[in-house]
């Protein structure tokens, strides 16, 4: 029985459901012809939501392109998130970031379009936290494909040598685009690379929210107490593939049996069953959460659709800081 409080577990569950329903909604919007680059989080809800649940409100997130779990987990209102994805002026980046979600108040520091560009940036946020003698932590996500970028090496070395309060989470979902990582990556376990930086590397079941929470909490505590970074590798799977075009196994690069196997490890279902098994929640309580979330996402859709687009003047603003 994990020493995680009921409130936290229910928050994790409801955010995972929120993410799942949001993800489904984005798929429908894409099908209806609205252009959103959807890197679906389906199948990867556990780690993103659980790890962000282990943060304090003032902690930072340096996100990456896979899905929206880090945004929802950090407390972003789906209305604002969806508005941004649709390019509306009510979005968190005033309709100029699109999938590159950022939010100053939530300390979501900006999702790059360039793989791994944010890893040294995360090290620098960590350096700044140390120099300002603050107590915050940075949670930095990236994928198995990005783990081969030079910037990962440079950024992890910097964070390690500075003992910066950064927790790296690599979500290893076995593929980058349509290439299996066995063709591209020199190690089976990316966590092994932590050794090269003299930092701890941990492997977790990326579909197990409780494991994700516990591993993240430990690494976050370690970072906060000045002991430096940790690399957590979460083994998981993208059920819907790379983007919306890949939902139904584009090009047959991954066998249907493989997808079916991973469907059985559905992280949302897994947590739901676990919560009932340890009698932390009843089916009825969880159904209520599911139902409320569906309504919330319907409202988010309505809000985003009714929101105005930014004006041309707004779009051309903010290239420079005038102050």
């Amino acid at each position: 029985m994990p020493a995680i409080e009921k409130d936290t577990l229910l928050k994790i569950y409801s955010n995972m459901v929120r993410l799942r329903v949001f993800d489904d909604k984005v798929n429908l919007l894409v099908e209806s012809g609205i252009r959103i680059t959807q890197h679906s989080t389906r199948g990867q809800e556990a780690t993103q939501i659980a790890a962000t649940a282990a943060l304090e409100p003032n902690d930072y997130v340096m996100p990456y392109h896979r899905g929206w779990g880090w945004a929802i987990g950090k407390g972003m209102d789906p209305k604002i998130l969806l508005s941004e994805l649709m390019g509306k002026g009510t979005g968190c980046c005033a309709g100029k970031g699109g999938v590159h979600i950022a939010d100053w108040k939530l300390r979501i520091m900006g999702r790059p379009g360039v793989q791994a560009a944010h890893v040294p940036i995360a090290a620098g946020v960590g350096l700044s936290i140390k120099m300002r003698k603050a107590k915050d932590v940075v949670l930095c996500f990236f994928g198995d494909g990005a783990s081969n970028e030079g910037n990962i090496h440079e950024g992890m070395n910097l964070a390690a040598v500075w003992k910066a309060p950064v927790v790296f989470i690599c979500e290893n979902n076995l593929y980058a685009l349509f290439t299996p990582n066995i063709e591209t990556t020199s190690v089976q376990d990316i966590a092994d690379r932590a050794q090269g930086y003299g930092i701890p590397g941990a492997i977790i079941d990326g579909n197990d929210a409780i494991a994700g929470y516990e591993a993240a909490k430990e690494a976050i505590n370690r970072a906060r107490s000045g002991q430096g970074p940790t690399l957590i590798e979460a083994k998981t799977y993208r059920i819907h593939g790379h983007t919306a075009m890949d939902r139904f196994h584009l090009g047959g690069y991954r066998p249907k049996e493989e997808v079916d196997e991973w469907e059985k490890k559905d992280p949302v279902k897994k947590l739901r069953e676990r919560l009932m098994e340890i009698r932390m929640a009843t089916a009825q309580e969880l159904d209520e959460i599911d139902q409320k979330t569906k309504e919330e996402i319907e409202e988010a859709e309505k809000f985003a659709k009714e929101s105005p687009y930014p004006t041309r003047e707004d779009i051309l603003r903010d290239v420079y800081c005038e102050a």
């Binding site: 944010h118 040294p120 940036i121 700044s128 030079g150 910097l158």
Partner: protein
């Protein structure tokens, strides 16, 4: 305040020292910044301790880390040892620093960082990996400001302005300028970004230049004066935003334009200046525009040959005379 004679390198160091004393958010990052081959950051750690950070060889990494620190309350001055190595850091500078604020929707997101790009400028056989002038590469990016001073006074004043600016600034330096001496006031003063300076007045032709080759342009102007041609020489000082007004005003007076730079011609700074004048001041011209720039070559790694493709005083003078 009293002015002293000091070198360009010393003036830069003084700007850093004063800004670090004035604002504790200012930090220095880069390779070997405590001893420092250029001497610009030398020994500042003795005064400012941990705020001077020797970084690993990882131009992309520590430039990106500078962006992260800038986003969250610091004001990093990041040294990249040679112009050539900015290409390793190009993503951190041009894709991240330049675009961060905009992509995040403005507001509280800002990136007050200075990339001091040291070295540059071919000399002594250092060749094409330690001698390029790559400033033109970075004038292309909205979101950045780009500076390239020619003398100690401007070096100090512009570096201070750059450090106080809330935007990413790429601050180019030229290794042949480091030993150049000039009068520099003690204490605080700034030089505005985006303002060129007329270094020599003349009525017959405008020479637009900057950085080290500006000094060659001034020598060419002296030679031309002996032959009866009075050249007006403009030091751009800032390459983005460029001081269009100063250039157009001069061309309106002289009716002739020559640009002089050390980088390559195609897509160079001179190309941009020529285009601005063609677009906004063609009516003032009575002759074609001449661009003096590096040969279409790779800088030879040879002390004997490395100036062969770099424009010299005579090249500038010749280009001017071709217009008469």
């Amino acid at each position: 305040m009293a002015a002293r004679e000091m070198t360009y390198a010393e003036a830069l160091r003084e700007a850093l020292r004063e800004e670090m004393a004035r604002d504790e958010r200012v930090i220095i990052m880069g390779e070997d910044v405590k001893i420092n081959v250029w001497t610009v950051t030398r020994d500042l750690h003795k005064e400012f301790g941990d705020r001077v950070i020797n970084c690993p060889l990882s131009e992309s990494g520590f430039s990106g880390a500078g962006v992260g620190a800038a986003l969250t309350g610091m004001r990093p001055v990041v040294e990249i040892m040679y112009h050539d190595f900015t290409l390793y850091a190009a993503d951190s500078i041009a894709n991240q620093a330049a675009k961060y604020r905009y992509m995040c929707g403005g507001g509280d997101f800002k990136v007050p960082i200075v990339f001091r790009v040291a070295g540059g400028g071919s000399s002594g056989g250092s060749g094409c990996h330690h001698g390029q002038s790559l400033e033109a590469t970075f004038i292309h990016f909205p979101g950045l400001k780009v500076i390239f001073p020619s003398n100690p006074y401007d070096a100090k004043g512009l570096l201070k302005t750059a450090i106080r600016d809330n935007n990413p600034v790429v601050f180019f330096e030229h290794k042949l300028c480091y030993p150049i001496k000039g009068a520099v006031p003690a204490g605080d003063y700034t030089v505005p970004i985006g303002k060129a300076e007329v270094k020599r007045e003349g009525k017959d032709v405008t020479i637009v230049s900057y950085a080290y080759i500006l000094h060659k342009a001034l020598k060419a102007a002296d030679q031309l004066a002996e032959e009866g041609i009075e050249a007006e020489v403009i030091d751009l000082r800032t390459l983005r935003p460029v001081d269009t007004e100063c250039i157009l005003k001069s061309v309106q007076k002289t009716s002739k334009l020559v640009t002089a730079e050390e980088g390559t011609k195609m897509g160079g700074v001179g190309a941009e200046i020529a285009a601005i004048v063609a677009e906004e001041g063609l009516q003032y011209l009575d002759a074609p525009i001449k661009r003096v720039a590096a040969a279409e070559w790779i800088i030879a790694s040879s002390a004997y040959a490395d100036q062969m493709g770099i424009p010299q005083v005579e090249d500038i003078a010749r280009a001017v005379k071709e217009l008469f």
